[in-house]
Symmetry: C2
Subunit: 141 residues, 2 copies
Amino acid sequence: MMINYQNLYEKLHDAGFRVTARKKLLLSVLLDNSDYLLSPSDIIGKLEPGTMDTATVYRILQSMHQAGIIESSLDSQGISRYKICDSTPHHHMICTSCGRILNFPCNEKFWGKYLEENNFKETSHSIEVFGICSECQKKSD
Amino acid sequence: MMINYQNLYEKLHDAGFRVTARKKLLLSVLLDNSDYLLSPSDIIGKLEPGTMDTATVYRILQSMHQAGIIESSLDSQGISRYKICDSTPHHHMICTSCGRILNFPCNEKFWGKYLEENNFKETSHSIEVFGICSECQKKSD
DNA sequence: ATTTTTATTGCAACTGATTTGCATTAAGGA
DNA sequence: TCCTTAATGCAAATCAGTTGCAATAAAAAT
């Protein structure tokens, strides 16, 4: 299933949100940078100055998250970062130099035995691999 | 190698920090709660009111982290949480109800093939499993 | 097409975690 | 014990993110 604007607009609408000019604009920024986790201030930096209030950006990001069209995570400094949801479950390889994120699938769960040993009921998990992406390795040569 | 006060004091000292009464006090709080990731405000809450200034707590935590005797992580709300470093590498099972953290070792790295495919140079990784610990499952019965 | 309802937005003020400048105090080596 | 310098308390500042409110604009109803 391809990601497209119509689809995203519908999801927003179905979640009870109005499809406004600002929401469309933010969506285009996120789609244009779908390989990156963007912080609110990254996003604001990509807009013409004065296009949108900070509070509006935060509110729209909340709405989109609620509508299930973007996923959020915290970077190493505790700042929220967002990207359009991927359709398949996955984990991340995050470049600590440029911030690019690459996905990889995850089927194995080698910690199953530890869950049992501790009688721990898993609800979710997260695997993140940090390092330097191919592009950034070239740059530093 | 067991964790003990002398050892921790030495590490602080070796990193160029003075071993003060406040640092000893914070260390005892962290040792008494070594199964939990504590936030600065958790820690302050465990002290007699007026024992130590907020800024001091933050500064000491920075020093201890720099000295390599505590590890830090961010909780789901972006708040810093700390605990005494474990001697062996491991990953976490974090109880979303009480905050207790359980360790499990990690040897396997099933993402190796994805690193190669993308020519991604790993520097570190993090695996966190969220869920409900044994104790909290009992409580909700 | 016009009116009506209600979500959306800008603005400014606010919150809560964390940091910083500065004067004072106290480690710990000489 | 003295002296140098890190550590500390206090107050003010910073920074991400949130909120109240009045004005605006979607989308639903007429």
